[in-house]
Point group: D3
Chain length 232, copies 6
């Protein structure tokens, strides 16, 4: 079926609501929530837009094929788990539903994909991983998202990692790649450093990510164990 | 669920592919075909756009309600039957699939809704009604769509009713409302009149449609019977 | 100065922040709040857009002039009072600030103009009129905005008049013009009628507004007095 | 040839530059000049846009045909005379070229069509008619375009008729239809009335135009003769 | 003449229809055909868009000049040969006309430029070169366009080189630059390799093209002769 | 205040009209003039657009902060001096006003920022610096802007540096970075070289600017003194 035709699910995967019973290798969950953004809203339409764009890359029955490498990827079970049902204004309700849906998708799929939404959804999504011992997170972002309070709220798109670190003792390390800009909140930077966040301010490109990942692995391990101790 | 969330089906109706077994009061079938248009293409995206727009009017569980008239519409079974799988270029294949899908939807739903697509799809859609004795069609269009051949093809968006009249002896009457313009094909007009088409050139508005329908009913009946006779 | 030049204030009026001391005939207050909308956000940009559009109609020094009627409007003192400072997410804070700013503008200007923003701002704006005895409001809207709760919140753009009627004993009459649609909340309609709301479902056009206003004036007076009594 | 194909000339007419020798029934001349507009520029692209849009209505070889009226229009010689070569900034040069081109097209075509461009081009276009005794002009516009000076210039889009009346003794009558708004220049209105302009302030619609034209014809004749006398 | 003015031909070259007699150094032929695309149509408007964009680079009378290199290009005879007259739906007719027009332009111009249109037009365009012994083609594309059949057609935008290789014994070598992606048709890749296609999967940038061209020349010659032999 | 709220001034700086008395470290002056452009107009809206975009980077009360470098920028006095009042068509008046406003802003602010507008405004802006002995200018542009006359005017966006060099004996050196293209006016290039302009044709990127600036400083000094001598 050509990309402009048919009901738009992620990669034309079957639609299996997240609160039903199924198993998959990859599952897509949309989180259409954008009411905390400080400038131009609209990220609520992102999950649908990603679904429509994905139809150009729908998994063919014979799988993906790469001509020079002879690469063939087939047999992958992909599922579109739909969207979290978001209320407007009642963000506490929204966050609870996001965490519940993310937990369910984690249980049912080996590789869950969560597509927001504004950055505030990172907090309720991370909460769905509160059972992982010594959780490490790699954040790719221009901003730290570690502000304590902004615009009279503690749950905006500036604060998800601050809230997560407060709520999740198992979140022991965050590596942030791609930071840039000069309008940082000094208190947030200091707080992040106290918590052991590793801040990376360079322009992000492929080779740097590679080398970064390599060096990070070593760093993380030791960093994590020392952290684990300091909290122990 | 708010209109920006969730998999976009028509009115949030369940997706039941047209080639499976189901029953409904209303069923939506998309026909994303636009390769016969003579100017700006893009109608292939129309079924998807109609689905997304329909989410603002999704049937509430308690039904539609009209405050002054006390009108309550509930219990309607609506189904989204998906889209016809359209090949590019091979229009004969496309037309066969459109007719097949339309026949299936007709059998399964009391009120089938077919959403194109350019005007050429009218022909394969009408073919799905070739078993209706004395079929009457009301066409609301600025153009007659009765041209014999245009741009070296007999199956463009200018010709669907010409082809239908040729192929379907049971298509005994067409009433065309809303005709306008001065670039008509004189041969098409003459041919339409020979076939008994009723041409209506006035600007179309609500009251005219009402009165028109009233008068048409009478006209059609007699017109139809005489036609039936003449062909009998 | 041509419309594309200069700092954009409403009608090129001087900018006098609403929390400073000034007097005017007309004052503009922007309320850039849109986080309760159920579909496409963006009304937060409306006050700025209205300011920019208004520059095409900036009050000339010699006043407005109508050639056939010999009408000349001059000497009007117009002020742009700026916008309410809106936090994201913390809607209670937003509503308190909206009410405070609206109260201030009411005191300083004979004709205050409040430009939203989504429909939820009607509630905090009406609260700024809680000292008016027997307040009558004329609402021009397709919807009733009298829903008790929607999307898990009681303060969305569907509920401002419900909240206002609950909070303001002096709000004795609302006339709603321009209602249309079939997705009304039956409970809201019933509640509105119990409260004495007058619902008007006709298409809205100029002459109807005129005659409506005429008849409304009489109706309102008697209706108001009887209401005032019933509450007395 | 379908509307999206081919070099875009007006109605697919042959391109005959206005400064060459030809004869036609209808000729199109573009005047892509917009530097006097007080707000959003871009009318310089209008002649090209009109040409592209016209391809949907290109004159068929067999002529235009109207089905109900049996109307057939054929044999019309249409020409696209190209555009005036507009310099930026040097508006005097631009105006001279516009007048010269318009004069040439008038000589070569029975029905010249001039497509601007902003309203200032009306002045150099009218100058091409300075040899018509007792010239009457019907202007369809929301504004009077009779301002003496605006934005430090006497040749903006607000002044073409003022300049024309000053420069052309043969321009004896202007009927202006469709005026609206309250930001008129009182001096311009008074000056227009002194010159005998007839101002019409009603909303413009088809039937009014018809009746207006009917009554205008009579009015104009007598008005013209009296004017001609008063100047005689 | 400024870029927004005048009839839009390629580089303001004179319009000489391809089926008339003329000679030129460079000639532009538009092929506004896009009905085989599998996703977003609209390339039918490309030739016109290229013409309009080219007006910003219209050849000055004194020729092109490069300040540091002292480069001066003058005396070039450029022609706009118009567009192929494309029917909708009847792609065989379209292809025949494309080949005929391309043959004519090849005879009349030393450097013909063909501007589509979707990728399917590559096939009828290549057919116009069926008289060139040992034809080598350099294709710059992300995809191979060597699929045997897609969407029930053998003439889509995925298949032009497959069809050309089948139809043209003189097409002895194709070098494809810029391939990327993982949704390749394995059968097409294998078939291309059997036919001697050289596939290049690297990101395309200037220096690589240069070095590629250098090495290709050598490769091609030997490759070609061996091929020529194998067919001999 | 969030970026979508409030009157849009540059970086939320206070609005101090340029013709009033004030002092600042940084001052913004808009020059909304675009009637000399040869293609697409609209730069008249640029100062307003820059103001709106700047609100995302409004100077926080505590100043700008850079996390890794510990950089803190606070205490800067920024002012929005408004726009020059531009007439249409009367470019001499526009240029006089631009020069007058730029002179005033230079006196009041240590770092004046002038935001156009099309390139022609460079000339009246440079005139505001005619009292600087041995003025050096670094121009970052794809074009030389040194044409003597274009489109029948000597003051278009192609000529500002030519006019400035003619009018300002103190303008002793111009370094032009980023030149590209092959449609240069040979006379302009020769004239620029006679006047001692340094032309730089390389693609512009960060490191090149840095090294360029470094080498330029030395070059300029000696070049200037020799120039100063030659004029002395």
């Amino acid at each position: 079926m050509l990309p402009f035709a048919g009901i738009a699910t992620f990669l034309r995967a079957p639609h299996r609501p997240w609160d039903e019973a199924w198993e998959a290798d990859v599952a897509f969950l949309g989180v259409p929530f954008d009411i905390t953004v400080g400038f131009r809203p609209g990220a609520r339409f992102a999950p649908r837009a990603v679904r429509e764009a994905s139809l150009r890359y729908a998994l063919p029955p014979e799988g993906y094929y790469h001509p020079q490498r002879g690469f063939q990827l087939a047999g992958l079970r992909v599922v579109d788990a739909g969207d979290v049902d978001i209320p407007t204004l009642a963000y506490e309700v929204a966050f609870e539903r996001i965490t519940a849906a993310a937990r369910a998708v984690r249980q049912r799929a080996r590789l869950p994909l969560f597509v927001g939404g504004d950055h505030s959804v990172t907090y309720p999504l991370l909460l769905a991983f509160d059972d992982v011992p010594d959780l490490h997170v790699v954040q790719v972002d221009a901003h730290l998202d570690f502000t304590d309070e902004r615009n009279n709220t503690r749950y905006s798109n500036s604060s998800p990692f601050r809230r997560a670190v407060e709520a999740m003792p198992n979140l022991v390390h965050i590596t942030t790649l791609g930071l840039r800009g000069v309008r940082f909140d000094a208190e947030a930077v200091a707080a992040a450093r106290r918590k052991g966040l590793e801040l990376e301010n360079r322009v992000l490109f492929r080779s740097s990510v590679k080398s970064r990942c390599a060096s990070t692995c070593t760093t993380c391990k030791s960093g994590t164990s020392s952290k684990a101790k300091s909290r122990g």
